[in-house]
């Protein structure tokens, strides 16, 4: 399988400001590739380099084998871009704006209509009168409306409500089923978890880990709060990947990572009144990679960084769960 995106020692500096350094990426055809990092880490710079908006200071980036700077116009024939915070023209309606982009991308007239209906976007309303979420729908429609082989998106679901985020994930799955490749920058870990095959984490301009999503998340602790009708027999949760942080008469707080199926089977055997599972959010994952005070340890299982420690230093080992995990913010499912 060939790579649609390849970068080698890709570096962009902004004088005194940090850009990105020695970025090594390879995204395979048909792959949905997540790109995670906090603000200022270099996600948007990387995307601008891939889109040919800025020139590398050194190194190179290729899309479909073409140099993204010197052959940008040819690259754009096969790439649809959703930039960070795209600014549409407020005097145009959503439909007019999309029609304009259709024309520039060589798409048939009205290629956007089906997606507008699907995302419940009224194309007759002027962009200036659309809410933040509806403007983001315009962005989602424009990136998916074509047939380009590569979709590059910079935080595409910002401002979308949960229903639309779900619809976005459906569109992502359909794009993958069609054999299209996606490079997706995001803050939203559940979105990356559900939509991506692999994920790269960028810190201070450097790629510090490239892993399959499940390998990344599987290494991370989940917090589970249980309320049960009867006291739990001792040893119920004696599993290698489970820690019991607190055990009251009828409530327990557990931490689990990796394969949760054995734990679920044991919970199912109990009379459960309530359960709350806090999945790791982006902060939790970043903590693993960002805690500089900890010595560096081996990368996550399956991490490509393990194979190339020179270019992608491994993450900091995740500590055993403690009470501070109780406060960890994340997606709570009940």
């Amino acid at each position: 399988m060939s790579n649609v995106i390849e970068t080698h020692a890709l570096t962009r500096s902004y004088g005194s400001r940090r850009g990105v350094m020695d970025v090594e990426l390879a995204v395979a055809e048909g792959e949905v590739f997540g790109f995670l990092g906090p603000n200022g880490a270099g996600k948007t710079t990387t995307i601008r380099l891939l889109a040919g908006s800025i020139r590398p200071t050194s190194g190179w980036a290729r899309v479909l084998g073409l140099d993204t700077w010197s052959q940008a116009t040819i690259v754009h024939r096969e790439m649809a871009l959703l930039p960070s915070d795209p600014g549409y023209l407020p005097e145009l309606t959503a439909g007019e704006q999309l029609e304009y982009l259709c024309a520039l991308r060589g798409l048939p007239r009205g290629a956007w209509r089906r997606l507008c209906e699907r995302l419940e976007l009224d194309p007759t309303v002027r962009i200036g009168k659309l809410s933040r979420g509806n403007r983001q729908k315009v962005a989602v429609v424009q990136v998916f409306m074509g047939r380009e082989r590569l979709l590059v998106m910079d935080e595409p679901t910002t401002g979308l409500d949960p229903l639309m985020q779900r619809e976005f994930l459906s569109l992502l799955a359909e794009a993958r089923a069609d054999g299209r490749s996606v490079f997706l920058s995001s803050h939203n870990l559940p979105e990356v978890e559900r939509g991506c095959d692999r994920v790269a984490i960028i810190r201070e301009g450097r790629i510090i880990d490239v892993s399959p999503v499940q390998a990344l998340l599987g290494e991370h602790w989940r917090s589970i709060n249980l309320v049960v009708d009867a006291p739990v027999p001792p040893g119920t949760f004696d599993l290698p990947n489970v820690r019991v942080l607190a055990a009251g008469a009828r409530d327990l707080h557990l931490m689990a990572r990796g394969d949760v199926n054995p734990l679920i089977r044991r919970i199912a055997a109990l009379e459960v009144r309530d359960i709350a599972i806090t999945t790791p959010d982006i902060e939790d994952v970043f903590m693993r990679f960002y805690d500089r005070s900890e010595p560096e340890a081996e990368p996550a299982a399956g991490s490509e960084a393990a194979a190339e420690p020179a270019t992608a230093p491994g993450p900091v080992a995740e500590p055993e769960p403690g009470p501070e995990h109780l406060a960890a913010a994340g997606e709570v499912t009940r």
């Binding site: 601008r48 889109a51 960070s84 600014g87």
Partner: protein, 267 residues
């Protein structure tokens, strides 16, 4: 692709160009209607002008008297109203597709498509030329239309030369602004520099007219070359003005295309 970008530019410009054209037509028409009264009051006007210091009369280019058609239309329209209109339209049109659209995040979106940077900017250049042609032609045409109504059937060929001078001067202003917008990617900086430079050039032109020993300063001013008086009065082709404006416009446009195709889209 270029036609698509041009159509959008046209649509986004129609309101600005429309209102400016209305201003040009209304002002040129009004001043044209006023011309016979100027001629009738020539003697009183000459007496009135004597009240002013010679330097002030020279600074406003009124030495030939306001009943001279070339001087009249130059003083009231071509070197007064036109530079203001050309500056407003030139600055707004030339800074919008690059600097303003970059600020709002639209430029990156447009350039992530099949349209190349050069073609994208060429559409903007085309819009600048169209806008200047429309404004200059409508302003001058108004003078030509009103002329017979007031008993002065002006020579269309002579006024056409004046219109050409207006078009090239407006294009030069827009081209310089475009180059600055491409270099700075800042609408405020590019527009501010051009507006400030025009004011300074106006003062230089006035100072050069007032003080003969500083006469060479006028060569640095756009207003020295924007002088259609001889064209209107004698039919002389304003070669110097046309050449200077054309060279400035073409050079700056080419430099803009070159710079835009090579620069980072980064402020």
């Amino acid at each position: 692709m270029i036609a698509t970008v041009f159509r959008l530019e046209l649509r986004r410009s129609r309101s600005l160009v429309g209102w400016m054209a209305l201003l040009g037509v209304a002002y040129a028409g009004t001043m044209s209607l006023f011309y016979p009264r100027m001629v009738e009051s020539n003697q009183a006007l000459q007496e009135w002008l004597k009240v002013f210091p010679k330097e002030l009369v020279a600074a406003f280019g009124m030495e030939a008297g306001l009943t001279d058609p070339g001087t009249f239309f130059n003083v009231y329209i071509f070197s007064m109203l036109w530079p203001i209109m050309a500056a407003i339209v030139g600055i707004l049109l030339a800074t919008r597709p690059v600097a303003a659209d970059f600020d709002r995040g639209f430029l990156e979106l447009s350039l992530s498509t099949r349209v190349s940077r050069v073609r994208y900017l060429l559409a903007s250049v085309a819009m600048q030329v169209v806008a200047m042609v429309v404004l200059a032609v409508l302003t001058v045409a108004t003078i030509l239309v009103v002329g017979p109504l007031i008993g002065y059937p002006w020579d269309a060929a002579r006024f056409s030369m004046a219109a050409l001078l207006l078009v090239t001067s407006g294009c030069a202003i827009a081209a310089v602004t475009l180059l600055l917008a491409v270099v700075t990617l800042s609408r405020a900086t590019a527009g501010g520099i051009v507006a400030g430079a025009l004011v300074i050039m106006y003062l230089l032109h006035a100072v050069a007219a007032i003080e003969p020993s500083l006469g060479d300063l006028s060569y640095l001013s756009v207003f020295h070359y924007l002088d259609p008086v001889a064209a209107i009065d004698t039919g002389a082709v304003p070669v110097q003005g046309l050449a200077v404006f054309a060279v400035v416009a073409v050079t700056c446009w080419l430099a803009s295309l070159w710079a835009f195709s090579r620069r980072d889209l980064l402020a």
